[in-house]
Amino acid sequence: MKRGFALLETIVVITFVTVSLLLLYGTFTNLVDNKRKTVLYDDMANIYKIYYLKEYLELNGLKTMETSDILKLSCDNFNLDSCSLIYDEFSIANLYLVKGNLQDYEENNYFSNFNKYLDSLSYNDKYKYWLIGEFWVEGQYYYASIGVN
């Protein structure tokens, strides 16, 4: 007569428990990621900074710029003495012009944080480009973006 668990039964139970716990782990990971995104991504104050920057740069040639995927915008792209001043005041580390319906790009050329932010954007034909600001504040990267047509 069989009196205890067989190896097969034990493995099945362990597998079941492990899978359940891993699913739970996955759920919590998603919650934490989403929570982190609300803090680091598209903060209301940063969205307005990018909005004003977009409006100002559009007066100074932003709309003439083109890219097939991602263009890193520096102050050299604009004929503005106060460009670097705005970058400093807004704590902008980098500014990117990203194709609105971006499909593929060379991820290795960019920070992993930036790649994660790009993953969170919804690409469509609504906007020709996204203007993405990468803010460096208190040792962390924050991101915010606005559509450009």
């Binding site: 069989k2 492990t18 782990y25 919590f28 934490v32 307005y48 004003y52 003495d81 106060s82 208190e138």
Partner: protein, 168 residues
């Protein structure tokens, strides 16, 4: 015939479950930390977004042309020079703007009545202003994540009048 667990099976199952439980604990701790952190005003995130949106919308809809910051004993007043009169009253525990009262709900959080203000001249008669209302936790501004930050880039005209600096 085999009658129960072998020590190896027990060890493997305990190890596996322990690993997963530890991972879960780590995630739950970080979730708790982010959600209910005492280091910043985590319970006021929605109000913060609402205030910023309300103020910035007014800047855009009613053409901001200047402002005056006035600190009194227990409150700070920001008088925005818009097409329509708008005043922000800041007290340690709440802000009143557009007849709406936004109370701080986070533990040990207070608004700093010393508002930070920056005015910068830009090219072609444009200017930039930044206003930062720090949120103090136990008397310290622990992070900018919960601070109320307002920004504006505008074009100067005959009615534009800003104070170029402000010292609390």
């Amino acid at each position: 015939m085999k009658k129960g667990f072998t020590i190896l099976e027990l060890l493997i199952s305990i190890t596996l479950i322990s690993i997963v439980l530890l991972l879960l604990l780590k995630i739950m701790m970080s979730f708790y930390y982010i959600n209910d952190s005492d280091d910043y005003a985590s319970k006021d995130e929605i109000n913060r977004a609402l205030i910023i949106k309300s103020v910035e919308s007014d800047f855009l809809n009613y053409n901001l042309n200047g402002l005056k910051i006035l600190k009194e004993n227990n409150k700070t007043i920001i008088d925005f020079k818009l097409d329509e009169k708008k005043v922000m009253e800041i007290k340690e525990n709440y802000i009143i703007y557009n007849d709406e009262k936004y109370e701080l709900e986070s533990n040990n959080a207070k608004y700093d009545l010393c508002v930070q203000y920056t005015y910068v001249d830009l090219d072609d008669d444009y200017y930039l202003i930044k206003i930062n209302i720090p949120v103090l936790i136990n008397g310290k501004n622990t992070t900018v994540d919960d601070d109320l930050q307002f920004t504006y880039i505008g074009l100067k005209n005959n009615e534009t009048s800003y104070q170029e600096s402000y010292a609390c």
